[in-house]
Amino acid sequence: MILQLIGFCALTALLELDTTYAGQLLISRPLFVGTIFGALTGNLFLGLQIGIFTELIFIDYLPIGGALPPSGNIIAAMAILMNHFFKMDIYFAFFVGIVCGQIFSFVEKFLRNKRAQMLEEIDKKLIEIKTTPGKIIFSNLALEFAAVFVFLALSVMIFGPLFSYLHQDISEKVHVAFKFAYYITPWVGLCGLLLSFSTKPKED
């Protein structure tokens, strides 16, 4: 189980690079991540559904300029890992995924600010041709991979056992509440999607 978890965390960390740093081919979008993880954990439909629900709930978040939306990749991956390895009900797992995605956006903001602090020294080295931008970018990709991996591993180690501990005490009514909130998500998202397509540019 631990080896599998390490593998999943590494795969998520690798895919996370696609969200901002390398490629942006959208292979890190929740639709793909959810489906891939669903297939790997033996529940393709659930993975697909988690991926779609995550896409829809964040349809109105755009990574424009310095905006930092919560990572859909981390949300979908965490939800499926929690469901598969800790038998967490999917509506709780989705919630935990969203919490982790939100926390990660603070981690990401911290990393971006750290890089900004290092920039003066890096600029100097680059101008004096003491290093190359390639070296800087690839070392940053490695660092980003490590940061996401550690974040995911810690999140799994905290939320998984915590849920196993609390599970017996969660009342049936709370289950119903989370379940209903989970099932209204795609409808709200579809509505948002419809409205986002309604905003059209004015013709020149």
Binding site: G23, F58, I137, F178, C191
Partner: protein
Amino acid sequence: MDISRTKYILRSLLLQGFWNSRKMQNVGMLFIMYPYLFKLYSAYPKFLRRAIQRNLETFNTNPAMVSFCLGAVMHQEQVLLKVQNNLDVFYEQEKEWVIVRSSIASTVASLGDRLFWSTLKPLSLVFAFTVLYLGQVYFLNDSVQVKDLSTIVLYALACAFLTYNIPVFITRYKGFTLGYEGNEDNFFGLTKINWNKLITVLKTIGQGLTLFVFIYGLYFYFAGVVVDVDVITKVILLSSFIILSVFIKKWNIPNIYLYLGSVLVFTLVALF
């Protein structure tokens, strides 16, 4: 044009490789330009260092459309090389270089964000939904009864991937040439395409398909359900949240807050 487009377009995939909150994509932009600058200024080390410094200035644009900026900036670098023996003209041209680079970057950023992030990305998702629904994979329901689920899902994923990435790569290639061969009159090739019309057409397609998925989804969500108090409550709550989502969209509140709010409200109602 004697520049290998593929090489620079592949390098442009790492534009955001050192994204930072101060100068944003500056290191990434230098990474793309690096071989070009070395080729251009290999015999003039002083000018090379100055070119590196120049290219390290703040840069931020939409990654999918960066090739417009690349083409234009490469062209401007050639202009600078030609006037390097006359320093007064060189400094004048360098100022021009800064203006061209920043103005094209911000225009391209605005266009790219509207075309790729706000239109093509959600459109590719809706295409995938349509493929899933046509394959009878009703993902809004609790379970699915399809024999060959993996094939349909694979088609849907391929559809989403290609719908987004084919236009991205066409824009990357075409933008490079247009930017390089363009001039200030056609804003480095940008005015050769009617972007607003393109966005409007794509958004209209998206609107139609989303409406199809919404209505089709609702039909299959409630198909065969026996009407009782539970179902009526569900319908009323669902309708309320759909209406609420329209309002919160008008107030620019993200959907996620509606989800978190519903978790909180339902939990409180359930507990007390």
